[in-house]
Assembly symmetry: C2
Homo-oligomer: 447 residues x 2
């Protein structure tokens, strides 16, 4: 649906642009939904993009479109604009989107734009002062807050006049100090007789978050209570903003990305931070821990030097035995980490989880042990008992990996560390070391 | 915030339950938000959970709570109930949540409950007929659809009487065939004079999806157009349901989970499918491909048997060289896969991406090559040029892994395959094989 709207617009628009039919293109853009314009801008080449963006007549439309663009497109477009012009556009974006955009830009650039705003910069600067990833940083200060003794009739009148607030389907009720005391929905308002006051039917003690609530927690609150927006208060309960569900959707996407990257042993900054040195620096920590673990592997193998020289075939099988362990370990840790994050995994049913993982892994380990033994016997490598050694080796490697992959994130979660830290590099390295030890001991004993 | 509400309720409730003060507990529950009750039920032991759930007096409250529970808790609770009783509760859940619950239950159980519903089952059965993961399967049929020639006054009257529909902040406008022709928001309705008709100010050609639209696409539409609900129509444009933003949030969480698990080489079914055999079966495919790749590694190494026997130290360094490659490969593929999924990664800027990945990886490869050479020289393993061999070995292994990890998902995406298929097992196995070849060739040449 959206695909076809967006691509229809893109086809017509590019046709006009190629022909130089600028007024046609401009009129088409005026009739289009900002989201569809954003769709097109995200997909066309840079020169066409700048041409089309220049055709958007009002700073309002430009602001609307800009706040719907993908990060890379937005950064490119703003980079090509004069700070003054960029400032005019930013001014017309919803305040939370404007703040987010400025946060994403290089600091110098963002300060240029801010200083071009003059007085209008104040509201934005306040938002920018809240620490990143908090409710304060993602909230919008544009909301409907009305006194509790207001009548339904006057309240409806207010909605009519100031209804372009964010989250206009909720009206927040405040006392004379601007402290949050209640909430009514637009629908509730319609249901009530005109002379009632908001106090008479408002929901008291509404769900709320404070400016320093972590954005992940904000997302959880909105999704737990199935609300469309959550009011943000200061520590003293003074109402200062609102986080709407569309921001929550952005937060959730962002947090999922963080989890995914953490599992691979890197961080979110990655995709936004340019520069090789910075890129390498971000990925380094997990790799170093893995590297140090590798030294342990070297030390272990060197103590079994004689066996290895005698039966060099052991070395042939080392990669497959360790590799399979690593894969199984990663599967286990990923299932556990994501299960913990989404709550699908019921930690009270720990024995059941462990039994399931143990049973599943044992089945897999057995399957691959038999297959590897048959292969080793088939190709006739090594001494008589060699197939038995590799079978036991891969069985132990998989079982060790499954145990580490399952228990490590559970342990981290229990002691209060983010379980996603039990990530790929950590799991594969520790299973590598233990797998080497197990296989070497088995080889020495059997052969 | 939500934490404290939920845990406060939990503490008071358990105190009452322990003392056998059932009527106190019941009154407390009546005053509580269903989401807080769900929070408690998700966290207490099974016996307490059943006791508390039994205290919820009305099927409405039970339905509300049930639809907010985590999967495992919901399944446990429903398993302990008589099908008749379960049916009464399901009847009082929002239809989309009821359908989801029935989908999650074992088929036999879900049919028992459905047949206990009698006539009320029809609506649910219609929903259950739509294929999983489509708009039809996640929509709610409860919506406000009004004719276009209705006056504002009558429309507001309708909202007053039937306002408990899902997505009650939008009123959909239909023609006499129930075809979707427009949408007005509750706020727009308030702004208009009472005698205007909906046709006069409705937004025509509203954003919509069809019953067979993939749920991921539904989520994209809702988040792209920043709307709170999207109407669902049949192929002929007849309006049949609505997907609200809270369902979209669930879909997004689910899709992120799928991506995460796919990257580790397993699938979502995992966390829900019990049984060892089934668990092993789900994880098997990627492991088998990895296993087969392992055979290639064995074959390769066996052709370098002489060198290995001569310089057994090569075997000591094999795990660290392959392991570091695997880790870097995973980092690269994860960054690319997630970047493609979220649109952060700008595919038109391919040369820039490749240059960034190449530079970053080369820096990392160089760092670890130097470190490994120093280590090898320090411990004095092997022949004179051995440190050079391991340094070149790990450098090549990391660079190969980075290339595979970066290019494979980009290639998959280009030819229309889900890039997440370029997952952990695939990347590590292919880099293992190529890493072995590279290191062996280097060792043979240098030593």
């Amino acid at each position: 649906m959206e695909q076809s709207r967006g691509s229809l617009l893109q086809a017509s628009l590019l046709r006009f642009v190629r022909r130089g039919a600028w007024s046609h293109a401009g009129r088409l853009l005026e009739k289009s939904h900002p989201a569809d314009v954003a769709y097109v801008l995200d997909r066309v080449a840079l020169t066409d993009r700048e041409a089309v963006f220049a055709l958007l007549r009002t700073p309002e439309m430009r602001g609307d479109v800009l706040s719907l663009l993908q990060f890379a497109t937005r950064a490119d477009l703003l980079a090509g604009l004069d700070p003054e012009v960029a400032g005019q556009i930013v001014k017309h974006m919803p305040p939370d989107d404007a703040a987010e955009t400025l946060r994403e830009l290089p600091q110098e650039r963002s300060e240029e734009i801010l200083s071009s705003l003059g007085e209008g910069a104040e509201e934005l600067e306040t938002l920018l002062e809240y620490p990143e990833s908090t409710a304060g940083a993602i909230m919008s200060p544009k909301l409907l807050a009305l006194p509790e003794d207001l009548s339904v009739e006057s309240a409806i009148d207010h909605v009519r006049r100031y209804g372009d607030a964010d989250a206009s389907f909720y009206i927040y009720v405040v006392d004379e100090r601007q402290y949050l005391v209640g909430v009514v929905s637009l629908r509730q308002l319609i249901l009530q007789p005109p002379d009632k006051t908001l106090r008479d039917f408002m929901t008291t003690d509404p769900i709320r978050v404070t400016t320093d609530t972590d954005q992940e927690e904000v997302a959880r609150v909105v999704s737990r209570y199935d609300i469309l927006a959550v009011p943000v208060v200061e520590a003293n309960n003074r109402l200062v903003g609102v986080v709407t569900v569309d921001d929550v959707i952005d937060v959730m996407r962002q947090e999922a990305t963080e989890d995914i990257l953490k599992l691979a042993g890197t961080t979110t900054e990655e995709t936004t931070a340019p520069g090789w040195l910075r890129g390498a620096w971000i990925r380094l920590p997990w790799l170093v821990s893995s590297f140090v673990g590798g030294f342990a592997g070297i030390a272990l193998l060197s103590t079994f030097s004689d066996t290895l020289t005698q039966t060099v075939q052991i070395a042939f099988f080392l990669p497959i035995i360790l590799g399979m362990g690593g894969n199984v370990g990663n599967q286990c840790s990923t299932v556990i980490v994501r299960g913990l994050a989404t709550g699908r995994l019921d930690v009270r049913a720990l024995p059941r989880i462990l039994a399931h993982e143990a049973g599943t892994s044992a089945l897999l380990a057995l399957t691959f042990a038999v297959a590897l033994a048959i292969f080793a016997a088939g190709v006739g490598f090594g001494p008589e008992l060699f197939p038995l050694a590799v079978a036991l080796g891969i069985f132990c490697s998989i079982m060790i990996a499954a145990s580490v992959g399952t228990l490590l994130p559970l342990f981290f979660s229990r002691v209060g560390i983010d379980p996603a830290v039990a990530s790929g590099p950590l799991v594969t390295t520790s299973t590598d070391v233990m797998g080497i030890l197990a296989f070497s001991l088995i080889a020495v004993t059997i052969l």
